[in-house]
Symmetry: C2
Subunit: 179 residues, 2 copies
DNA sequence: GGTGCCATGTAACGAGTTACATGATTGG
DNA sequence: CCAATCATGTAACTCGTTACATGGCACC
């Protein structure tokens, strides 16, 4: 139900919206800690609806397809609250690149170095977009509402995560580069 | 096939071993970037066997159950090498705690702070065991073999990851604690 | 006599990925 | 005219989790 709760949380903090909008939100804001494909989101919405944790209304549109607008129910919010109050264990990490490093001596060192540089670039770019969001969305740090503080902290987590990856890439490139 | 390749990598860098041993290895060394349950490992071994990426021999033991000792085949090693040479995207993160933070205002601030302190402790403990491994297994940093360098870097990734979490927890506790 | 380690599995279910599928509108 | 955006889904498959299952040996 992880994704289910992520959807509920998104419906609570932002306005009711369609599956399509949820996918976009996830791509933009949530994806740094919970990514989801549109197929997953639609399936999850169906299940949430069956449990009456969300309600849904069809909005007729002209010039574009109709949409189903979802809204969290009182039951859904109660379930979400209960879930938040329970404690959660750290997520198991699944890092393909680390598995590759384990047996890195099987391929040429240059290939590994190239891959590390590629990863370095990817995390740099991601970091830039996150830092942009930090500047734009949280210009006045000392005076944040509680809701905003929580949002800010999730962004900080993302920023730290990317920064950390960049630092590791540098360390790795340096260690492997100097024989 | 992520887990499959992780198993192959483990069979390459360490000696051939049983499913049971693999599970232990994963718990001890690999789990900081790829966790796996024994059920998963046994199922994956069966599939690797079917593809002839590993071979297996029954070792008769006295006083304890017999075991199946698995060994990577030439085909398996070729597949592993090919996989390592391909580039890999950053893993999608799935952080339950961040989802909870998103809608954190639904529960009492004290509950969130308690949870953050709990997480802080967990990552502290994990960090200590990783740092111990760093001291014990890599005492002579400047003179590591290539294989050891790679192993060291995966450990560094784990150490950084835990350190980063700790720093974020501190930041979060500070921001939420001071109203 | 109970706990924990060694050693291996099956079965059912839940979650995530990949591929396929449709169809209108807007902007270059 | 082509690509992108809006909008929603189904189907098949793989991967991960939870529960169930067995059975001997060593140690306290």
């Amino acid at each position: 139900m992880g994704l289910g709760f992520a959807i509920l949380a998104s419906l609570v903090v932002e306005s009711p919206c369609s599956g399509y909008d949820l996918v976009k939100r996830f791509d933009e804001r949530v994806s740094c800690f919970w990514a989801a494909s549109h197929q997953q989101v639609y399936r999850e919405l169906r299940q949430l609806k069956e449990r009456d944790w969300v309600s849904c209304e069809t909005v007729i549109q002209t010039g574009r397809p109709n949409k189903q607008v979802y809204c969290i129910t009182a039951l859904g919010q109660a379930q979400l609250t209960e879930w938040i109050e329970a404690s959660s264990e750290p997520t198991a990490i699944r890092e393909e690149l680390m598995v590759k490093m384990l047996a890195g001596h099987l391929v040429s060192e240059q290939k590994i170095l190239d891959e590390l540089k590629r990863r370095y670039e990817i995390h740099q770019e991601k970091l830039i977009t996150l830092k942009d969001m930090e500047c734009k969305d949280f210009p006045d740090l000392p005076h944040l509402s509680l809701e905003k503080k929580f949002l800010y902290l999730t962004l900080r987590r993302g920023i730290r995560y990317e920064t950390d990856w960049i630092a590791w890439c540098e360390e790795a490139i340096q260690l492997l580069g100097t024989n």
